[in-house]
C-alpha cells in the first residue's frame, strides 16, 4: 500500500484570509476517505487547493501526489496527472456540447500521456458504456455542458465525466447534496465501479446516508481548517446522531480532565 495523496501541515488562504490551518491527510491506493465538517470549515477550499484553483494561495506545507510535488503543477497538468474534482456547483458552459467537451478533455489528457486521440466511434462506445452505469439520459449528451440541467443531473454529469476520465484521485465535493434516492444510488454505483486498488477518493459530504452506499475506509472531521478527528465508518454515524457540538464537548472534556 503506497500513498496516492499526502498532505503535510498545509496552510492556505483565499483573498488574504487563512482558511486551511495545518491540515494533514494521507490517502493510500485503493482507499476512500470521507470528509465531514461544519459549513465554512474549509472542505471545498481543500478540494480547490488540491485541484489548483486560481486565487487559492498555499502559504506553507506540502501536497504530494504519487510522490510528486503537486503544487508545482498547473491546474490542467494536475488534471492530466489524474486529479479530478467533482464540483459542489458544476459550471454551465453555454453553446458547448457536453460530449464535445468531454471528448476534448479526454483527448487533452491522452495527449499529455503521449497517447493518440480517441476517435469519435471509440469515444461513443466508451460513453454508452459509462452512461449505463449512471443511468443517465442520452439527451444530456446532446445538450450544452450543464446548461438547463437539474441540480441532480448536474451532479450525475460530474460522476459521468469522472467515469469517462478514470482519474487516479477523485475528490467529490458534496456530490450527494440535492440527489433523490435513485440518483444517489446511481452516483454511488458510478463511484464504486471506479473503486479499485490503483485509485483513491476523497468524498466530501454532510450526510452519512451517502456512506451507506459508498463505504469509506476512513472518516475525517474537518473543522476550522484542520482535521480534528479521524475514525472508521462508525464516526459518521456518531456525528449524524450527535452533531458537531458533540465533538466540541468531547474535546472540552478531554481538556478539562488533563
Amino acid at each position: 500500500m503506497s500513498a496516492i495523496l499526502e498532505i503535510k501541515d498545509l496552510y492556505a488562504s483565499v483573498e488574504g484570509t487563512e482558511i486551511l490551518k495545518g491540515l494533514n491527510l494521507t490517502l493510500n491506493t485503493g482507499e476512500i476517505h470521507a470528509i465531514m465538517g461544519p459549513n465554512g470549515a474549509g472542505k471545498s477550499t481543500l478540494g480547490n487547493v488540491i485541484a489548483g484553483r486560481d486565487g487559492y494561495t498555499v502559504t506553507a506545507g506540502e501536497v504530494l501526489f504519487k510522490g510528486k510535488d503537486l503544487l508545482q503543477l498547473d491546474t490542467e497538468e494536475r488534471a492530466c496527472e489524474g486529479v479530478f474534482l467533482a464540483f459542489q456547483y458544476p459550471v454551465e458552459i453555454p453553446g458547448v456540447n457536453n460530449t464535445y467537451f468531454l471528448r476534448a478533455a479526454l483527448n487533452a489528457q491522452r495527449a499529455y500521456r503521449g497517447e493518440a486521440p480517441m476517435d469519435a466511434a471509440a469515444f461513443l462506445r466508451l460513453v454508452r458504456e459509462k452512461l449505463k452505469i449512471l443511468d443517465l439520459k442520452d439527451d444530456l449528451l446532446k445538450r450544452a455542458v450543464n446548461v438547463g440541467f437539474s441540480g441532480g443531473e448536474k451532479k450525475r454529469n460530474e460522476i459521468f465525466q469522472m467515469a469517462v476520465l478514470e482519474p487516479t484521485l477523485a475528490i467529490l465535493d458534496e456530490t450527494d447534496s440535492g440527489l433523490d434516492i435513485d440518483a444517489l444510488r446511481a452516483v454511488a454505483a458510478g463511484v464504486n465501479a471506479l473503486r479499485d486498488a490503483g485509485r483513491a477518493m476523497l468524498v466530501i459530504t454532510h450526510y452519512q446516508r451517502l456512506l451507506d452506499y459508498i463505504v469509506p475506509d476512513v472518516v475525517h472531521v474537518l473543522a476550522d481548517g484542520k482535521i480534528v478527528r479521524s475514525g472508521g465508518a462508525e464516526l459518521a454515524l456518531q456525528l449524524e446522531e450527535k452533531g458537531y457540538t458533540w465533538l466540541q464537548q468531547e474535546d472540552q472534556q478531554v481538556l478539562e480532565s488533563s
Partner: protein, 482 residues
C-alpha cells in the same frame, strides 16, 4: 499555484495574418478633400453627369455637418484633409476584359488572402468581386450568373452598364443626408459591388465581395447596392482586410439593400480590417451605414456580422420593415481585443403590419477592448401586431475591458410585443477553472467558451464562412500562454 490570472491578461496579443502590403504601382489623388476631389473621382470613373451632380450635392451638404459624437467611442479628431480619397492599381487604360488580364500581383494578393480569383482555384459555388483600394479588380462567375439574369459586378461597372437601375435605387435607402459618414461616402465613394436578382430567381451561388485596403493614407469608401426583385433570393457575403500600418486608416462604407415583394436577402459580413497593434497604434476606423428596406410585403432581410477587426467600429445594420409581413434579423458577434473599440448594433423600424424582427448579439471584450451594443426597436403606429425579440449578451475576458448595452425601444402601437433580454458574463474564473480541471489547456478552453457563446450567430453564416469566422475568433484571441 496556477498562473491563470496572468495568462488571461496575456491572452490579448492578437496575431494579424493579413498585414502584408502588395507592392504595386498605384495612381490616385493626393490627400485632401474639396469639390475638385469629388469631380476628379467622378472623372476617373467616367461617370454620367447626373451622378456627378448627386456627388456634388452630397459634398455641399457634408460641409454643413459635424461628426457624430454620441457613440461610446474614444476617437481622436479625424483630419479629413489628410486622407487620400482615391487610389487604384495602375492597369491598362481600359479595364481588364477578363480575369486572365488582371495584374498577377493582384491575383497573388487575393490568393494569399484565401480568395483565389482565377479559373482553376475559384471557390466552388461562390462568386467573388474583388475590390482593391478604390476599384474592383475583377468579378468571378459573371457569365454563369448572367445566364440566370443575375447581375453581379462592380459598382463602377453598374454605373456604365445599368445606369437606369443605379439611378432608380441609389440613395433610396440611405439618403445622402442620412448621417455624416454616409454623406461623405455619397460624395467620394469609389467602388463596391452591385447585385441585381431578377423576379423569381433564386441566385444559384453565394455572391461575395472581398475588400482590401492596400495603399497608405488612403480611405476606402465603398458603396454596395443589392436589389432583390419579387420572389427572388440571394445570399451575399463580404470580407475585409488591410495591411498593418501605424496610422489609422479611414473606411466609410454605405450598403443599401432593397427587398421587394416576398424576396429574401441574406447578408453576411466577416470584418477583419487591421485592428491596430497591442498598444492601440494604427488600425482601421470603420464607419459604416448599412440599411435594408423591406419595401414590399413579405420581404425578409437577415444581417449576420462577425466583427473582429478595426481599431474602431461604428456600424448599425438596420431594417426598415415597410411592407406588411416583412421580417428583419440581425445576428452579430463583435470582438474587441487590445485597444479596439466597437459601438455596433442595429435598428429595426417596424412600419408595416405583422412585421417581425429578431436581434441576437454577442459582444466579447478582452484586453482593454470596449464593446458597446446600441440598438433601436421602433414600432410605428400602423405596425399592428409587430413582434421583436432581442437578446444581447456580453462576455468579458479579463478585468481591463468593458461591455455596454444601450437598447432603445419606441413603441407607438399598443398591439406590439417587444421582448429584450441582456446578459453579461465573465469568463475567467469558474468556467475556465472547470475546463482546466478537466485537463483542457487555457487557450483551448477560452476558444471553446467563446465559440460556444457565439454559436447562435455562427450557425447563421454559410458553412465555409462559419469555419472561417471561428478560426478568426481563435486567432484574435491567441496569446502567449505558457
Amino acid at each position: 499555484m496556477s498562473k491563470q490570472a496572468s495568462q488571461i491578461d496575456q491572452l490579448v496579443a492578437a496575431k494579424y495574418k493579413y498585414g502584408f502590403v502588395t507592392d504595386i504601382e498605384t495612381e490616385g489623388l493626393p490627400p485632401g478633400l474639396d469639390e475638385s476631389t469629388v469631380r476628379a473621382i467622378s472623372a476617373f470613373k467616367q461617370e454620367p453627369e447626373w451622378l456627378l451632380e448627386w456627388r456634388l450635392a452630397a459634398f455641399q451638404h457634408w460641409l454643413t455637418l459635424t461628426p457624430p459624437n454620441w457613440a461610446k467611442l474614444d476617437i481622436l479628431p479625424i483630419d479629413f484633409q489628410a486622407v487620400s480619397y482615391y487610389a487604384a492599381p495602375i492597369q491598362d487604360k481600359d479595364r481588364p476584359q477578363s480575369l486572365d488580364e488582371v495584374d498577377p500581383k493582384l491575383l497573388e494578393t487575393y490568393e494569399k488572402l484565401g480568395v483565389p480569383l482565377h479559373e482553376r482555384a475559384r471557390l466552388a459555388g461562390v462568386a467573388v468581386d474583388a475590390v482593391f483600394d478604390s476599384v474592383s479588380v475583377g468579378t468571378t462567375f459573371k457569365k454563369e450568373l448572367a445566364e440566370v439574369g443575375v447581375i453581379f459586378c462592380s459598382f463602377s461597372e453598374a454605373v456604365q452598364e445599368h445606369p437606369e437601375l443605379v439611378r432608380q435605387y441609389l440613395g433610396s435607402v440611405v439618403p445622402v443626408s442620412d448621417n455624416f459618414f454616409a454623406c461623405l461616402n455619397s460624395a467620394v465613394f469609389s467602388d463596391g459591388s452591385f447585385c441585381y436578382i431578377p423576379k423569381g430567381v433564386r441566385c444559384p451561388m453565394e455572391l461575395s465581395t472581398y475588400f482590401r485596403i492596400n495603399a497608405a493614407e488612403t480611405g476606402q469608401f465603398e458603396r454596395t447596392l443589392i436589389i432583390a426583385e419579387e420572389g427572388s433570393q440571394v445570399s451575399y457575403l463580404e470580407g475585409c482586410t488591410a495591411p498593418m500600418r501605424d496610422e489609422n486608416q479611414l473606411h466609410a462604407a454605405v450598403v443599401e439593400l432593397i427587398a421587394l415583394k416576398d424576396s429574401y436577402i441574406k447578408y453576411s459580413t466577416v470584418q477583419n480590417w487591421y485592428p491596430g497593434d497591442e498598444n492601440g497604434v494604427g488600425g482601421i476606423y470603420n464607419f459604416v451605414t448599412k440599411r435594408a428596406d423591406c419595401r414590399e410585403d413579405g420581404a425578409k432581410v437577415s444581417w449576420t456580422q462577425v466583427e473582429t477587426g478595426s481599431a474602431l467600429t461604428w456600424k448599425y445594420p438596420s431594417c426598415v420593415l415597410r411592407g406588411d409581413n416583412t421580417t428583419g434579423e440581425f445576428y452579430s458577434v463583435a470582438l474587441t481585443n487590445n485597444y479596439q473599440q466597437a459601438d455596433t448594433g442595429t435598428k429595426m423600424i417596424h412600419l408595416g403590419k405583422n412585421t417581425r424582427s429578431k436581434i441576437i448579439t454577442k459582444g466579447i471584450s478582452a484586453g482593454h477592448g470596449q464593446n458597446t451594443y446600441r440598438g433601436l426597436v421602433h414600432v410605428g403606429k400602423n405596425a399592428t401586431a409587430a413582434r421583436n425579440y432581442s437578446q444581447c449578451d456580453s462576455m468579458l475576458i479579463g478585468k481591463t475591458c468593458g461591455a455596454h448595452t444601450f437598447p432603445y425601444i419606441e413603441v407607438k402601437n399598443p398591439t406590439a410585443q417587444v421582448e429584450h433580454e441582456a446578459t453579461t458574463s465573465k469568463i475567467g474564473e469558474d468556467q475556465l477553472f472547470y475546463c482546466l480541471q478537466r485537463g483542457i489547456s487555457e487557450e483551448d478552453a477560452i476558444s471553446m467558451i467563446v465559440d460556444g457563446f457565439c454559436k447562435e450567430v455562427f450557425r447563421e453564416l454559410p458553412m465555409e464562412f462559419a469555419v472561417e469566422a471561428k478560426a478568426l475568433l481563435e486567432i484574435s484571441l491567441e496569446g502567449a500562454v505558457g
